[in-house]
């Protein structure tokens, strides 16, 4: 999860250069489109292919599509492809082939081992905070791209849709939930808040009572509840989500491209100020010893309840 650093420069210079480079790269991405990205891709964590007018993205990293450095790198490639027009796709859908679900969220084992390794190298909490910010800047750039893509985006959710996985689903215009789906933000168990844009995006879509219940209790809700509060657009039987999502994509592709883009930007404005403040809050909380202790407990636990929020 942490950025590599091998320069002989002192750490503040390294981190500052890394951030400047990243910010310049992110800014440049807004003005240029890459042309070297293949229309079909099969990576270690995700894959994609253009099916008709829909770009289908499969999440296939076992056990449950945990979002760490490998997943992020490939999502960055996908985001570049989307910025470049996604091969002319008129819709984009995410689905998972992991049996356990859509995504269990951030890769907590990688996060914890990164913290331990960096501490072993003598890195201070400040240095780690810079690296966490770098990671968050990258993931926010990716998620913002999906959120604002001028095409219809759909998440097909089954099983676990927790934490960062939930945040990925929330970037989409529509969530189609199979009966097995469960949605949760268990971050407070770790002494954290969601950091990939989950709170602002949930607040954009739902009433505050539901937002606070999910956030402050860490509980999960099933697909029926998610449908009743307006989180998901359709609840479908187990194993039927992808088929239904394909039909949604086909329908969305019938409309005028510019009108779809205009309607989407009107109906789904991106909450930039809240996203920035959530990122700051996450980084502030990451410095707490509570977080490392909670991560250690999670990683080392053999309690069968360990994943229950």
């Amino acid at each position: 999860m942490f950025a590599p650093h091998s320069s002989l420069l002192p750490w503040p210079a390294r981190v500052a250069l890394s951030r400047l480079g990243r910010q310049a790269s992110l800014a440049a991405q807004k003005f240029r489109a890459r042309t070297d990205i293949p229309p079909t891709f099969h990576g270690d964590a995700i894959g994609w292919s253009l099916e008709g007018q829909t770009l289908e993205v499969v999440l296939h990293r076992e056990p449950c599509n945990e979002i760490g450095s490998v997943m992020l790198r490939e999502l960055e490639e996908l985001a570049d492809y989307v910025r470049a027009g996604a091969g002319g796709a008129r819709a984009l859908l995410f689905y998972s082939t992991a049996e356990r679900g859509f995504s269990a969220g951030a890769d907590l084992r990688e996060l914890y081992s990164g913290m331990v390794d960096r501490r072993g190298q003598g890195m201070s909490r400040w240095q780690m905070a810079f690296e966490v910010r770098d990671f968050l800047d990258r993931i926010h750039a990716v998620f913002d791209t999906f959120d604002t893509a001028p095409i219809t985006t759909i998440a097909v959710v089954h099983g676990f849709c927790f934490g960062g996985g939930f945040e990925l689903a929330l970037t989409c215009d529509e969530i189609i939930a199979e009966k097995s789906a469960r949605f949760a933000f268990p971050e407070l168990r770790l002494g954290l808040v969601p950091g990939f844009g989950g709170i602002p995006r949930l607040r954009r879509d739902l009433g505050n009572a539901v937002v606070r219940d999910l956030l402050l209790t860490g509980r999960s809700i099933n697909s029926t509840k998610a449908g009743s509060v307006g989180l998901v657009s359709q609840v479908v039987p187990r194993g039927r989500g992808l088929e239904v999502a394909r039909r949604v994509g086909e329908q969305a592709a019938k409309f005028d491209r510019a009108t779809t883009a205009a309607a989407k930007s009107f109906a789904k404005p991106i909450p930039r100020d809240e996203l920035r403040r959530e990122k700051d809050l996450f980084i502030e909380l990451m410095g707490s010893p509570v977080v490392e202790a909670a991560l250690k407990k999670f990683v080392e636990s053999d309690d069968p309840h360990s994943y229950l929020p």
Binding site: R100, G159, D303, P304, Y307
Partner: protein, 80 residues
């Protein structure tokens, strides 16, 4: 909770079917993690099945310390 309690009977049938186990010998005092040989992910699946079957909501934190079929059946009875 009695073995012939209707909620318990339905729960045992539901759990046995979901995880392809035999209901014979399952009782209210059995630990469902052990007897069904399930992990925490599968326990969540069981919770989803229970909520769907009875049309109820059971927040996760209410089942955090529940380990037996009898205790889960009692929780269901409270929510109906």
């Amino acid at each position: 909770m009695a073995q012939n309690d209707p909620i318990l009977s339905k729960l045992l049938t539901l759990a046995a079917k979901r995880f392809e186990r035999d209901t014979a010998g399952l009782g209210p005092d059995d630990d469902f993690f052990d007897r069904l040989d399930i992990n925490s992910y599968q326990a969540m699946e069981l919770l989803t099945e229970v909520e769907e079957e009875w049309g109820i909501e059971i927040p996760d934190y209410e089942v955090q310390d529940v380990r037996t079929f009898g205790a889960l059946a009692a929780l269901i009875a409270d929510r109906i």
